[in-house]
């Protein structure tokens, strides 16, 4: 085997082993360099993997040399390569941004360990997307979760501590539910490998045990996903975490949970069981819609911009879940596409907020007054990110909304289409509040002099903003892979 054959595992273990290196060295600057190098290497591996998968199909990698189902398998198909690419890309960009931001928000003697925890959170998420083993998902989920609790609690506000604790409670309940679900499936099939499960489940799918396992897995992932009404941990966690952490987690953690939901529902259980035999399509659709409308409404009334965008994230998760609930290929394509596009827009927005917090210390609506002139580049990035959030062409956000609307029309669900558009209207309102404050309100007289954010922050922000525009115009990569992955998923189940 050459190094190319090891790419699936390298994408995960490079950041995973970089974390102990950071701890071993325990100095801020080298730790950052290690984290930066590790995340870019992992990103490179993800690009190569996606190329490899599109050319020669699904890759299976046998860890420890034991064939599945006895050993643990890493299995990269289009969907996992696509999501892995998003996660690693965001990690790579965020790491560039991190240096100044982290230096200003984290006590200097803890920076090295902070990067170690950030890398572990990243590696955990990457591990979930690549693995083909149900129990291995649980293990990597816990790696990323424990690291997330720690890095969220590093926020300067004491409320970060409480937010992290709430997240720990909800997250652990979710993980335990997932563990129960896996237990039930193992009870009935004797295997933990996902492909093997998919092959064996149809025989026993008519048992109460499998149905209960299905329910526990779905609820458990729903907790991690912050699916309405299980989202209560998310707004505070995102609002009070350090800027870098918010940007990273908002753009990746919930996306990986969506991936896990797709994988379990459509691949392991299959479309027929998940969305037709069980009434889950209806449940997902209703929860998605309620999530979109209620979270967007709450977002409109927030003064703290990080909280506003956090509620907006809950709403965006609603769009993705709605797409899955539509149970047709266009809907699933929209969901996968929105995972990609939402990572780009929220990454850009939260990073830009991080740049503002770096200069101003906070980011409330009050601080935004007159900011359009004082930090023009950062504000321009927020405006474009906001447009993408609303779904205005030619941004990436438009494309995923377009497919979602198509999906609803395909099912003939007019009211749903209207609600999706209403959600966009609400997004327009809260984004407008930002724009109004930044461009149409004068800076308060006693405002401190503010300079534009440093280049090491502006470049990552604009990379993501550029990606928002690029993938709004050139859709063949993002849409192409997403629709192929959706076809693969829908085909696998029936």
């Amino acid at each position: 085997m050459t190094l190319i054959d090891h790419l699936p595992v390298l994408a995960v273990i490079v950041p995973l082993l970089a974390a102990p290196l950071c701890v071993l060295i325990d100095r801020a600057r080298p730790a950052w360099l290690i984290a930066l190098a590790a995340s870019w290497l992992s990103f490179g591996a993800a690009i190569l993997l996606l190329l490899q998968v599109t050319q020669s199909g699904t890759i299976s990698y046998h860890l420890g040399g034991w064939p599945p189902p006895w050993g643990i398998e890493y299995r990269i198909d289009l969907l996992s390569a696509y999501v892995l690419l998003i996660v690693t890309a965001i990690a790579a960009v965020v790491m560039v941004f991190a240096w100044h931001s982290v230096e200003s928000e984290i006590p200097s003697e803890r920076i090295a360990r902070f990067y170690a925890a950030l890398l572990l959170a990243f590696a955990g998420l990457a591990g979930i997307t690549t693995t083909g083993d149900a129990f291995n998902v649980f293990v990597f989920l816990e790696i990323s979760s424990l690291a997330s609790y720690a890095i969220i609690s590093m926020g300067r506000d004491r409320r970060a501590l409480n937010a992290a604790f709430q997240y720990l409670m909800m997250g652990t309940i979710g993980a335990t539910f997932i563990l129960i679900g896996i237990g039930f499936l193992y009870m009935m099939t004797g295997t933990l490998n996902m492909q093997d499960l998919a092959a064996l489940l149809p025989e026993v799918s008519d048992t109460r045990t499998v149905r209960a396992g299905f329910a526990f897995l779905t609820v458990g992932i729903g907790l991690k996903l912050a699916l309405f009404p299980l989202h209560l941990w998310l707004p505070n966690a995102y609002a009070y975490a350090p800027s870098t952490v918010t940007a990273f987690l908002a753009a990746t953690a919930t996306k990986v949970a969506v991936y896990a939901l797709l994988r379990v529902l459509l691949d392991v259980f299959g479309v027929e069981f998940s969305l037709q035999a069980m009434p889950l399509n209806l449940i997902l659709m209703v929860l998605g819609l309620v999530g979109i409308v209620s979270a967007s409404l709450v977002a409109v009334f927030q003064d703290d911009i990080k909280r506003m965008l956090a509620y907006s994230s809950v709403a965006q998760i609603g769009y993705m879940v709605l797409g899955i609930g539509l149970a047709n290929t266009t809907g699933v394509t929209a969901a996968i596409l929105h995972v990609f596009n939402h990572a780009l827009m929220k990454g850009a927005l939260f990073l830009a907020l991080g740049a503002i917090a770096y200069r101003l210390g906070t980011a409330t609506l009050r601080d935004f007054a007159g900011l359009g002139r004082r930090m023009p580049w950062t504000m321009a990035a927020i405006v474009i990110g906001g447009l993408s959030l609303i779904g205005v062409p030619p941004t990436a956000g438009f494309i995923s909304k377009w497919y979602l609307v198509l999906g609803t029309l395909e099912q003939g669900l007019w009211p749903v289409t209207l609600l999706v558009l209403f959600g966009s209207l609400l997004a327009l309102i809260y984004v407008w509040k930002l724009v109004e404050a930044a461009y149409f309100k004068p800076a308060p007289a006693n405002a401190p002099a503010v300079a534009e954010a440093p280049l090491s922050m502006l470049i990552p922000v604009w990379l993501l903003v550029g990606a928002n525009v690029y993938f709004g115009i050139h859709t063949d990569i993002s849409v192409g892979v997403a629709s192929q992955a959706a076809t693969q998923l829908m085909g696998a189940g029936g």
Binding site: I13, L17, G64, G65, L120, T209
Partner: protein, 301 residues
């Protein structure tokens, strides 16, 4: 119960009973771990926390209705799920038919060690165990990020009140070498009997914690300075990962121990031993670090 001390002790007892139940269900390795971790380490950590946050709980004002409904629904779903489940001990249950037979029949031959749990843990599903080691390491980093850890003292500090009790001191002095020796035995005997790196690490850490509790803060810290502990933990993870990388560069999949020696079974042996050492080091140092972090906070407060 409003007394949290009582709550924690009851939990500890519950954990011990669970361990006994696991013994009865043939899960000796799990029983061992549950006793050491659930009843031992968890209890010590919870008590250290109580020392800081207070022993008494206030009467809550919540209405218990909503939680009751949630719990009842979940419980019903679980019972519903068990209705089609195989019965306890049924040898024809699917779980015993599909994957497990190979572990039982081939495990002792392919991996070359009698303890099948160790074989599955460290070889067949060695990557999970690598993940598990990283979980512990992550927890250590998380606790240190939250609480920090105090530098080791440079001089011998004074005795604590509990250290004045002569019987206790003598007994503990006698016990500690035995505990450490037993830890080593468990570390290297995991191939044959119950035990392995994880349990050994816990036992080793317990020895230090006991010394620390009885003889006061300083002495144990002179032996292993607290600021080394996270590094030691990192080293353990790197040993495990290093074995994996070695097989990767030898042209075999990550963590394929047959790359370690000419004879595959011999390689398995060597690999399992090395990764168990990695696990042991990480678990020992991280658990001790977490304890020091919690206890160190106590002194400052």
């Amino acid at each position: 119960m409003r007394d949290l001390f009582g709550v924690v002790i009851l939990f500890s007892i519950y954990s011990f009973m669970t361990a006994a139940l696991f013994m009865d269900l043939d899960a000796v390795d799990v029983a061992f771990t549950e006793a050491a971790v659930g009843a031992g380490v968890t209890t010590v950590l919870m008590l250290s926390c109580l020392r800081l946050t207070g022993r008494w709980e206030r009467r809550p004002k919540h209405s218990p209705l909503l939680p009751l409904i949630v719990v009842a629904t979940t419980g019903t779903a679980l019972v519903y799920g068990t209705l089609d489940a195989p019965l306890l001990g049924d040898p024809n249950a699917p779980a015993h038919q599909h994957v497990a037979p190979r572990y039982i029949e081939q495990g002792p031959i392919e991996v070359g060690m009698p303890n099948m749990v160790t074989a599955v843990l460290a070889s067949y599903r060695g990557y999970d165990t690598f993940g598990e080691t990283v979980v512990i390491f992550t927890a250590g980093i998380a606790v240190l990020l939250l609480l920090g850890i105090q530098e080791g003292p440079h001089t011998r500090p004074g005795r604590t009140a509990i250290g004045d009790q002569i019987v206790l001191r003598v007994v503990v002095k006698l016990l500690i070498p035995l505990i450490l020796l037993y830890g080593l035995y468990v570390q290297f005997h995991g191939d044959f009997g119950a035990g392995g790196g994880f349990q050994a690490g816990v036992i080793f850490a317990t020895g230090f914690i006991l010394y620390d509790l009885v003889f006061g803060e300083g002495d144990a810290r002179l032996v292993v300075p607290p600021d080394w502990l996270p590094r030691l933990g990192a080293l353990g993870v790197l040993i495990y990962g290093g074995v994996g990388l070695y097989s990767l560069f030898a042209g075999k999949p990550f963590l394929d121990y047959s790359a370690l020696a000419h004879d595959p079974v011999h390689g398995q042996h060597l690999g399992v031993m090395l990764v168990e050492i990695g696990v042991g080091i990480t678990v020992f140092s991280i658990i001790l670090a977490i304890f020091y972090a919690l206890a160190g906070r106590a002194r400052r407060a």
